[in-house]
């Protein structure tokens, strides 16, 4: 985490995203910083409403108005991209940042064949003849593991199953050889057996192409299998970030601990599920101090008044007053 920003595929520095409202400006993402190295997979986990997907949207410049980036910087390979205008940003999206969304059926145009969608994307970003682009499309489909790709090139999305559609979406995301891939719940809509296949494709491609990946998901199992590092988000902030083995096997922040403990085990039958009491507060009702303090089993006096910052603890970083001194 100490390398120069230029060495990172992506650097997010003190990012805050706000939504103006009748009750003043609501901070949905509050001072978030992280880096992703080339070829690295960073997992972003948290409950719904924690700001995971919004962080992804901020990076590709697709925050729904009236939401906007209030402060902070986003650097892609050392170049600032948060202040680009729409035309410049269009060249970054697709060319330098690929996207994979949750529902593969809505990410593909149902009226165009798969080859048309792939060649359009390829030729938009790379100068290439139509025949060469078609060859490239075929190569991409084979790379993501579509059997008999040559025969299926001219099929429509409805002729593919959910898992195959997601492979096509991954091929589209990779079409221009991006530096960064943002995958937002890429396997949530798929069945377990298909999920494992897609995870394998994503991991292999990331390692072989050197693209960095930001993997946004609520599933700790997916993070454990895929990610190199993981950031746990709660109420718009990163509460713990570190190598996946450290955070998942030995979480230290009380929220990460509670979140991981509440995953039902497949090894041992429990009489009762371990739960975090209460629910994440709604946007705009985040408590002062550490926003987790009302639900925290080990809260202290300082937690309700002073906000803890991310500090280094062994291999990981966490924002908590516990053993902070």
């Amino acid at each position: 985490m100490t390398a120069s920003p230029a060495g990172h595929a992506l650097s997010v520095r003190n990012l805050s995203v706000e939504f103006p409202s009748g009750r003043g400006r609501l901070l949905a993402i509050d001072d978030v910083s992280f880096d992703v190295a080339p070829g690295e997979i960073l997992g972003l986990v948290g409950e719904s409403g924690a700001g995971k997907s919004l962080t992804g949207s901020a990076i590709i410049g697709l925050i729904e108005p009236p939401g906007r980036i209030a402060s902070g910087e986003i650097l892609l390979a050392g170049r600032r991209i948060d202040n680009l205008d729409d035309t410049q940003m269009r060249h970054v999206r697709g060319r330098e940042i690929g996207m994979i969304f949750q529902d593969p059926r809505t990410s593909l145009n149902p009226l165009f064949t798969v080859s048309r969608q792939l060649t359009d994307t390829i030729r938009e970003h790379r100068p290439m003849s139509a025949t060469a682009a078609r060859q490239e499309a075929l190569r991409l489909l084979e790379m993501v593991g579509i059997p008999a790709a040559a025969q299926r090139l001219d099929s429509y999305p409805h002729e593919f199953s959910g898992g195959m559609c997601q492979r096509v979406v991954i091929a589209l995301a990779l079409a221009a050889g991006p530096r960064l891939i943002i995958a937002d719940e890429p396997t949530t809509a798929l069945d377990v057996s298909t999920q494992a296949q897609i995870m394998k494709v994503m991991k292999d491609l990331c390692k072989s192409s050197g693209s960095a990946m930001m993997l946004i998901t609520h599933s700790m199992g997916v993070i454990a299998a895929l990610a190199d590092r993981v950031a746990v988000m709660y109420a718009g902030r990163i509460v713990e970030i570190g190598p996946v083995a450290d955070v998942i096997l030995h979480p230290r922040h009380p929220y990460s601990k509670g979140l991981i403990a509440s995953i039902p085990s497949l090894e041992q039958k429990m009489a009762r599920f371990s739960q975090i009491d209460g629910a994440m507060p709604r946007l705009g009702r985040w408590p002062g101090g550490c926003s987790f303090h009302p639900r925290c089993p080990s809260r202290m006096d300082v937690c309700s008044t002073v906000r803890p910052e991310l500090t280094e603890k062994g291999n990981a970083m966490m924002a908590c007053w516990l053993d902070a001194s």
Binding site: E47, S48, S161, G163, M164, D191, V192, S193, T194, Q195, A196, Q197, M199, K200, K203, H218, S219, M220, G221, V222, A224, A225, L226, V244, A245, I248, L249, G258, L259, I260, S262, I263, P264, S265, L266, E267, K269, M270, R272, F273, S274, Q275, I276, D277, A279
Partner: protein, 332 residues
Amino acid sequence: MTLDPAQPSLIAVKGLSKQFDLSPPWWARLLTGAQRRVLKAVDDVTFDIPRGKTLGLVGESGCGKSTVARCVTNLMVPTSGRVDFNFGGAVEPSTALSPEGRRKVQMIFQDPYSSLNPRWPISKTIAEPLKVFGLKTSRAEIRDEVRLLLETVGLHADDAHKYPHQFSGGQRQRICIARALACRSEFLVLDEPTSALDVSVQAQILNVMLELQARLHLTFLFISHDLSVIFQMSDYVGVMYLGRLVEIGPTAEVFRRPRHPYTQLLLQTVPRTNLVGQIRAPLSGEVPSPIKPPGGCSFHPRCPHVMDVCRSVAPKQTQSGAELVACHLAAG
């Protein structure tokens, strides 16, 4: 087979099948010569649940789990087979349940956002079954009962006047449970009750269900695609693939020593948090379309132990230890 011969079963499902006719209309078939197309959503499913126990049904999307739930609760009429309830009196078939029997069978759905009336305060929603079944008649009694039910599921009695949009997903699922309990139900069908919730909230809701089951001696049919939730919640587990029950038995047995190759592969592929950096043995291929299921054993194109007989003969369910397995391997 009965899962526990010592316990009387509350519900017995025998040879349940549900087919959907997806054929084009008769005139179109006549003009184009198109064939009839029939989707076998559920194919010859047999199980029973002992009183006070939970049967978990697990399988991938499209395997017929929810259709079983709908046939059991009589929301759909099965094409063949029967569902019998035994609440202690006479045996009642699901298609001819007495009003008393209907009250005792309730369902909780996946999406707590669409299963509550957004225009009704939750007190009205929970009071409705009390009025319909004549369980409480005076206004004061109904009000007290609603407050009691809300507290039973871990909500505040003072929230009774609020509307569904004022609650979070987890709280709404609690309201749905309170409504089901208002009927003094004995058998609950839970169709993916926590799939729309975050893990930490899921744990809360599952705890509520476990407490209520122990206290009120409820019987559950618990449907989920999440193997770990099924493992924790169920006494018995049934694994479905393309409309058929491929394996059923005591949960500990099935998870410790799965006998059907599909169950084995399912258990291998599920991502686990204690296996960092590992993606385990991806199952090749995908679930085939239930309209044109493969002949013989429908799992044979994906099965690592496929034999010649699997391609032509559909395996019958055979007893293997405490379990029933539909596989030629288990039949020996």
